[in-house]
């Protein structure tokens, strides 16, 4: 599991890898939260989300969009994402901590997830996807 930031002048482009789809989605969540808040710890806040879509790419976008919604309205920062995908349904347990301006202000607001160039690719070692976060 890994994510790396690639060159993109206007927004944030991340290449995310995971051995399984569950790991890929978990890592995509971690990548997005690293852009928004910087470091985060598990301090006992737990939340469950469920998302359903018509294909995997849309599922990824809806899942990340749901995370944006939850973090903003519930003032929580998540650092671990236990994702379980069945077909095009996803459930995830998110763990993290309450938002603390003193420790979580190193990042920037992600306004949305772009559909542009988003394609989940199966490779020998697992899955890879490149995601543009609009900032």
């Amino acid at each position: 599991m890994s994510f790396e930031e690639l060159e993109h002048t206007a927004d944030v482009l991340m290449r995310v890898r995971g051995a399984t789809l569950n790991e890929l989605f978990a890592e995509a969540g971690r990548a997005m939260f690293s852009v928004m808040y910087g470091p985060c710890e598990d301090r006992g806040v737990e939340r469950r989300i469920e998302v359903e879509a018509e294909n995997l790419e849309s599922l990824l976008i809806d899942y990340l969009s749901e995370l944006l919604f939850v973090t903003e309205v519930e003032n929580t920062v998540f650092c671990t994402f236990d994702v379980e995908i069945r077909g095009t349904r996803l459930s995830a347990v998110l763990r993290g901590e309450p938002f603390d301006p003193a420790r979580h202000s190193a990042g920037t607001v992600v306004k949305g997830i772009s559909y542009f160039g988003l394609e989940i690719v199966k490779e020998e070692e697992g899955y890879v996807v490149e995601i543009i976060f609009d900032i």
Partner: protein
Amino acid sequence: MLTGINKVGDLEWEVPIGYVPDMRVPGRFFLSRTLAETLEEGAVRQLANVATLPGIVKHSLAMPDIHWGYGFPIGGVAAFDMTEGVISPGGVGFDINCGVRLITTPLTEADLARRKRDLVERLFDAVPTGVGGKSTMRISNKDLSAIMVDGARWAVEHGLGTEADLVRCEGEGAMPGADPDAVSAKARQRGVPQLGTLGAGNHFLEVQVAREIVDPEAAKVFGIAEGQVCFMVHCGSRGLGHQVATDYLRTLEGAHSKYGIRLPDRQLACAPVDSPEGRAYYGGMVSAANYAWANRQVIMHEARKVFAQLFGIEYDEMRLIYDVAHNVAKFERHDVDGVSTEVCVHRKGATRAFGPGAEGVPHEYAAVGQPVIIPGSMGTSSYLLHGTTAAMQKTWGSTCHGAGRVLSRSKAKKEVHGKELRERLAGEGILVRAHSDAALAEEAPDVYKPSGEVVRVVHEAGLSDIVARLEPLGVIKG
């Protein structure tokens, strides 16, 4: 310049039909040789992709701050026929009605003198900023509905401004056609706690000085003089707008196949302007745009209170020059082959720049054209311009919106150190306040194209004329 593009004027370039398959009209953009050095092929391809959409009129356009976005390029402008054409969230962006307003004060730089640090700190305390910034205002869901319909007027009616402010906003601070029922419960939940907050990224509240007056006649009409201290607000519709965009990208993605529209890019999801899906997006987008006008009105009000208290000046002495939107789609009347025709104009990172006498320009500015406000990046000049007749003829009355990045965020973080940047700017007399130094590096002046060059190109291309150049003195960074 990239291959396959034709020069059609000193600063004007054409992307011919065929640059990508299925283009219905040519693309056209405005750029100097200097700016062409950083033009991305991806941005031109996006401009060409927009030209494939049904009902596009005349050209797919881009301003000199064109760069690679998603869906439309940033700096993209396109008008669509009201019956044959489409409306697309990808032509507006996630930050619906991101925009700028400029306010003058009766103060000079000397008046700020030793109190500049105090001013910046008080402004920082008065206006919530950054990731997680929440409002101190308590508004109800009913208030939110009213805000989405009335925009800046809601704020003025609640004591957060004056009637005169409304006249000096694009569309008087609200667009008609809002449909709060087209805004999801999620978007509402995000909107309630964020009214009057700046957000993050390149958004700012800046104390500036009018350093140079380029067009004294127009400056007089706009009420700005050399040496005058001003402040500028740059922000948008916050989480509410982001959610509306997210929701409708999804809805319209399902709709385009229903209407037989072939898309070269999923981010160009769209529906006919005159369809249930198109109308719903428009109603939701207008609601978010109106929220943004109320948002900037509230922030201006808070900043005025700080200035009034600190310098003993009157609230009414701080005059709003104008407020412009640079991410929006609007129904406007334009000349199409000699006939006044209503079209749906998308501006994604582009500013309306209506010329003298155009409908919608405030009466007091009618002889000059509307004020156009181009924010600089942190530490660099911002500009006040006015709209022109040439813009009405060439770009649906549109011009650039800002500088446009040249350096990615990841490179910026490697090359620029936030604390050093803050200290360097302080050395130049620019005090910067943010929640963290780390966030500063990403928005360093070095990561943007020189705003002066972008503005020079629109000026020389005749799309808007420079009135004044403003320099920053203090920056509250979002």
